[in-house]
Symmetry: C2
Subunit: 395 residues, 2 copies
Amino acid sequence: MKACGLIVEYNPLHNGHVYHIQQAQKLTESDCTIAVMSGNFTQRGEPAIMDKFSRTKAALSAGVDLVVELPFLFAVQHADLFAKGAVSILDALKVDHLVFGSENGSIESFHHAQKERQKNQTAFETVLKKQLENGLSYPEANRAAYELVGINSALDLSSPNNILGFAYLQAAEALHSPIQVDTIRRIQAGYHEQSITGPIASATSIRSAWQDEKIQQVKAAVPEKTFELMEAEELHSWEAYFPLLRYLILTRPAETLRQIHGMDEGLEYRFKKYINQALNFQQFLSLIKTKRYTWTRLQRVCVHLLSNTQKHMNREHLEQAACPYIRILGMNKNGQAFLSSRKKQLDVPLYTHLKDGMHPVADLELQAADAYNSILPPEIAAASRRQEISPPIFA
Amino acid sequence: MKACGLIVEYNPLHNGHVYHIQQAQKLTESDCTIAVMSGNFTQRGEPAIMDKFSRTKAALSAGVDLVVELPFLFAVQHADLFAKGAVSILDALKVDHLVFGSENGSIESFHHAQKERQKNQTAFETVLKKQLENGLSYPEANRAAYELVGINSALDLSSPNNILGFAYLQAAEALHSPIQVDTIRRIQAGYHEQSITGPIASATSIRSAWQDEKIQQVKAAVPEKTFELMEAEELHSWEAYFPLLRYLILTRPAETLRQIHGMDEGLEYRFKKYINQALNFQQFLSLIKTKRYTWTRLQRVCVHLLSNTQKHMNREHLEQAACPYIRILGMNKNGQAFLSSRKKQLDVPLYTHLKDGMHPVADLELQAADAYNSILPPEIAAASRRQEISPPIFA
């Protein structure tokens, strides 16, 4: 069986994603589509609007055959770690192709940039370090380093999907993975696009339209299944977690906050200083944001605070940057057949569900799920918790 | 000025409390009444239905001249520590009398029990230790020890107010305090009485009647000011904090829970084992309760978990069992005159408000206040927080 891998968040799954699934299948002539999907929190440091189980249902309904979880440990990290975690899963599953969507759309320009980067590695690292010392944020310093070293002539490394795609390519290279990486140009909507203008819209604009109760616009931009799931649930957003975040910042001493992953350079004092002035999450982030601390970075720290992800946790797995297990969230018969075909070649354990004490990375996954569910009524939270320890969704 | 001290919770202040204030003034012929009052959490390990500021207003309106805070450090503890903290404040203020309400009503029987206890100290301690080893809870072991050593012929040390009164007497003795201790027999309602039958009712029955919306019964049992305050606010109860408690138990590892004050003998595993089975606070407590862990003890552990009170915090102050400062919550002109008369004799600092970093015991007070306020909308929580750092209430 020939398989094609996608790295996704589906927050929520929209028509652009369906296009991506179909084009990837066509391009690679694969028999099976595998999605590595973030769980309850996304790479930009936000609670996903629907939990992993609902988003798995949407994925299966849109043509994905197998949904595998990108562990929380890798999902809420900067592009490099996110990419390494996700690509290591596709590599472990011996998936033949990886197809990502990008603003650029030409895999040659990615390969070119990668070669340039390798040639100029030392210069690049020196300039990057200097820019970080100058107080630039990581993405800004990174982009500046590419520009100053003269690498990115053909590839705009300020576009979020180009950044991620480039990270996938580097991760595959680092793993010496035989996976064939290709890209499809994203159509119409930009990643950060704020308004919906037709059937193809960004996930950001769909979430924002939903919040503004522009229900018909959302309906036009997502498959029926997604719309049905969105209507059935109370959607999650940072604001609902703000009282809890506020409580944690006020009742934990600075030394405790400092243990949190990403809480560096005295950021804990900034959190404590401004929390009493903020009446909601947006206000709080605006208050603590600086040139150096990007909105995304601060949101990730907030996710780690909420999920109690500490610096010392799973450090060895982060350093290895390889996922220590494969966790199936959902599949159809085709996905099941793929798994059977690959089962014997797997170097890491295959989990059909999690349980307490199974693996430190899985323990953190359950902890993050409990944090995500904490705003739900206890009976619904308990039901969602039970899904973590139940067999995968079968479509 | 001759002053009379009361040790109170006023949760809420009711007609029985007004009777106690008046009788204490009459009995001691004092010019001034001082109440040492618990803050936002009570000795039995519950969030007070109204915060300390509302309860201070009720106290001033009922004839108390000066309201001093019993720090959280001492307020949510077993009877001995509660008593030591409270009596040390009255002693520091050179208050002349302490009058407590009791089921017994005769100070002679308290003095007698105290003498008997002193005579049989070694035997008492041996028996107490043995009973605790047998798996009895602390109050049960204590009562059994009194019975077995043959002390409490005249004083029933299973009645909660007798227990507290006896603890006040012992605390005064331990401090070599010149304070004169006296008692008034509580009229009609028992401490744990569950229903209201007239103008005198227990605070427990008033809280429960309010919850059952028996508003007229409550109105008959409390002063007008209390009723007005109760009507104006959303009253606090454990159930509102349950989602937060649930979140903490699920997302903190056992080692972190073990740092919490009172989380002993592997109780943290019991918390973790049962939390997913409980849909509310009552259910959770019922699940974790055993013969050894009384409901009250478990509620106190839950308060410490909520307020993040750790074992290592303020240990020296708990061991000294003396309040390191006096914090004024409210006063009238008479109370102010009393303070002026005692100011120069004070051995501990007098605080008119708290601020961050002022004193470790005050830091814990603010932390507990933040935990208490965490269920309120951020703007109301922030306003309540500001009251902690503002001048006292003046009536």
